[in-house]
């Protein structure tokens, strides 16, 4: 598998703040078609890291390469064409006056001819199931719908990488589920690589690999199963416990001997009924 994002030893300090760097020698890479989640407590530098990937922030030192191109002043716009970003606040990233105008915004920036734009906007809206809302204004959409429009705006640009910068953190559970489902579908159809920054365990569980950050450094890396088996330590990492883990913790308190490994919900159900029937 080929690497599509390669971040080497990146350091960055916001100049107005005290001397604490937001990123301290961070290195990681993402393979093509992979879904990587970055988790960590507030202020651990996750969002800063996401912004360095498409050049919204220029690192003080270190190297960033996307799709084989090194990030520098000359390449930054070509890299931004490869990287689509969905931000946290659905309202503040909605540029267009209506849904279709917003989806078209990125295409307009690239100077795509109008006939092709009409086609691309249509298919992108279809992919996120928002076609019937094409004429709507943002004020009349729910948060989840706005984020789906933001995803459509990225899909229309046909990027290689989609970055979700806490894209589901301001949504209700239903909107969150909607957006995650859309991301999964789009990822499969378009063969995208996804980098998601999140506090949401469902989102982290959907990833192929989880990176844990703290104080501007990468402290853990592994599959969701390995990371989730840390149990109580997850809370310190800024994540909720997944439901099976919470159940295990409660059972342990009752004096029941629970398995150490991480179990999914189905795994937990399996273990429970074997445990009960053995008794």
């Amino acid at each position: 598998m080929s690497e599509i994002i390669n971040v080497k030893n990146v350091t960055y300090t916001y100049d107005d703040e005290d001397q604490r760097p937001a990123l301290k020698g961070v290195s990681f890479s993402i393979n093509k078609g992979e879904w990587v989640a970055i988790i960590g407590p507030n202020g651990s530098g996750k969002s800063t890291l996401a912004k360095t990937v498409n050049g919204l922030i220029e690192p003080d030192s270190g190297e960033v390469a996307v799709g084989g191109l090194e990030l520098n002043e000359k390449n930054v716009w070509s890299i931004r064409e490869m990287v689509g970003m969905v931000f946290q606040n659905p309202d503040n990233q909605f540029v267009g006056s209506t849904v279709q105008d917003d989806v078209a915004f990125g295409l307009e920036n690239l100077g795509i001819p109008r006939e092709e734009m009409l086609e691309r906007v249509r298919t992108a809206l279809e992919k996120v199931n928002m076609l019937e809302f094409a004429e709507r204004e943002p004020a009349r959409l729910s948060g989840g719908q706005k984020q789906r429009v933001a995803i459509a705006g990225i899909v229309a640009l046909r990027p290689d990488i989609m970055i979700l910068d806490e894209a589901t953190s301001m949504l209700d559970p239903q909107g969150r589920e909607e957006v995650l489902r859309t991301v999964k579908e789009v990822k499969e159809q378009e063969n995208l690589s996804v980098l998601s920054i999140t506090h949401d365990i469902d989102e982290a569980a959907a990833a192929n690999r989880v990176l844990v950050m703290r104080d501007g450094q990468m402290i853990q890396e592994g599959t969701p199963e390995t990371i989730f088996s840390y149990g109580e330590k997850l809370v310190e990492m800024g994540l909720d416990l997944p439901f099976p883990e919470r159940l295990k913790a409660s059972l342990k308190k009752e004096g029941i001997d629970v398995p150490k490994d991480y179990l999914t919900e189905e795994g937990m159900v399996d273990w429970l009924w074997t445990y009960v029937s053995k008794k």
Binding site: V95, T98, Q100, L118
Partner: protein, 265 residues
């Protein structure tokens, strides 16, 4: 309080006026405001009134909205009309009480001024009620385009306008929320004397101001991430289409202007 704002209140519909090109409507409305000053006798005012009422009819919008458009300005209109009546000197005196003189010319002038106000308001109401704010900005951008030759940043102005319009409802929602949040903490809006009322606005204004800065920054980041580099090399998703009925409207305005020029005294 937001319901009273007539500006930006678009009423969806599919009438003849709704389907006109926004450029035709915008140019027409502006042109109308210019030529209304040509009218100076009964005949010309009747002509203008018939023209406007036809437009109102064609827009298929309930007259209620037009009356509501006049309401906020009614005191200004009455004040101007009364001044006109009292201070126009004329030869045919109808009524005299000490220094107050009401002449036939004065009354006539008052009525004309009244008509002028109402017709202008009706015309601009037709424009705002039948045109989506978005199409209006498109029209403004198109009509300003010649100014790009003298270094006016037309694209930037148009972008600013469309972003501003897009954020009007969002910011109104937020204003409402902040007001309620401050009310819950014991602030009385719209009560007390003028000074107290002004002071109560501060806890509303400052949070709104600060959050606008945050919004602006996030929006700018999102725009940049989506490849926005400025006006150059951009294509446009929306396209305005000028058809024969738009030319027809322009011809109608031309005929109206000619008639006014002939009939005025």
């Amino acid at each position: 309080m937001m319901e009273k704002l007539i500006f930006g209140r678009y009423i969806p519909g599919d009438s003849f006026i709704h389907r006109l090109d926004p450029r035709a409507k915008l140019m027409g409305a502006i042109w109308f405001i210019i030529i209304i000053f040509l009218a100076n006798n009964w005949l010309t005012y009747v002509l203008l009134t018939v023209f406007v009422l036809t437009a109102v009819k064609l827009s298929e919008i309930s007259p209620k909205f037009f009356i509501n458009g006049v309401k906020p300005l009614i005191w200004l209109i009455l004040f101007t009309v009364i001044l006109q009546i009292l201070f126009t000197s004329g030869s045919t005196i109808w009524f005299r009480l000490g220094p107050i003189v009401i002449s036939q010319e004065g009354l006539l002038n008052g009525v004309f001024i009244f008509m002028r106000f109402v017709l202008i308001i009706f015309m601009s109401t037709i424009l705002t009620l039948t045109t989506m704010p978005l199409s209006l900005t498109d029209a403004i951008e198109y009509l300003l385009r010649p100014l790009a030759a003298v270094k006016v940043p037309v694209h930037e102005i148009a972008l600013m306008l469309s972003i501003a319009l897009r954020f009007v409802p969002t910011l109104m929602d937020e204003t409402e929320k902040i007001m309620n949040a401050q009310r819950a903490r014991g602030i009385d809006f719209g009560e007390g004397n003028v000074y107290q009322q002004m002071k109560a606005i501060v806890p509303l204004l400052i949070p709104l101001f600060v959050s606008s800065f945050n919004r602006a920054e996030e929006l700018a980041t999102a725009m940049e991430a989506r490849g926005y580099k400025g006006g150059e090399g951009r294509t446009k998703y929306r396209q305005l289409e000028w058809v024969s009925r738009d030319t027809m409207i322009m011809v109608a305005f031309g005929l109206l202007s000619a008639a006014l020029l002939v009939l005025r005294t």
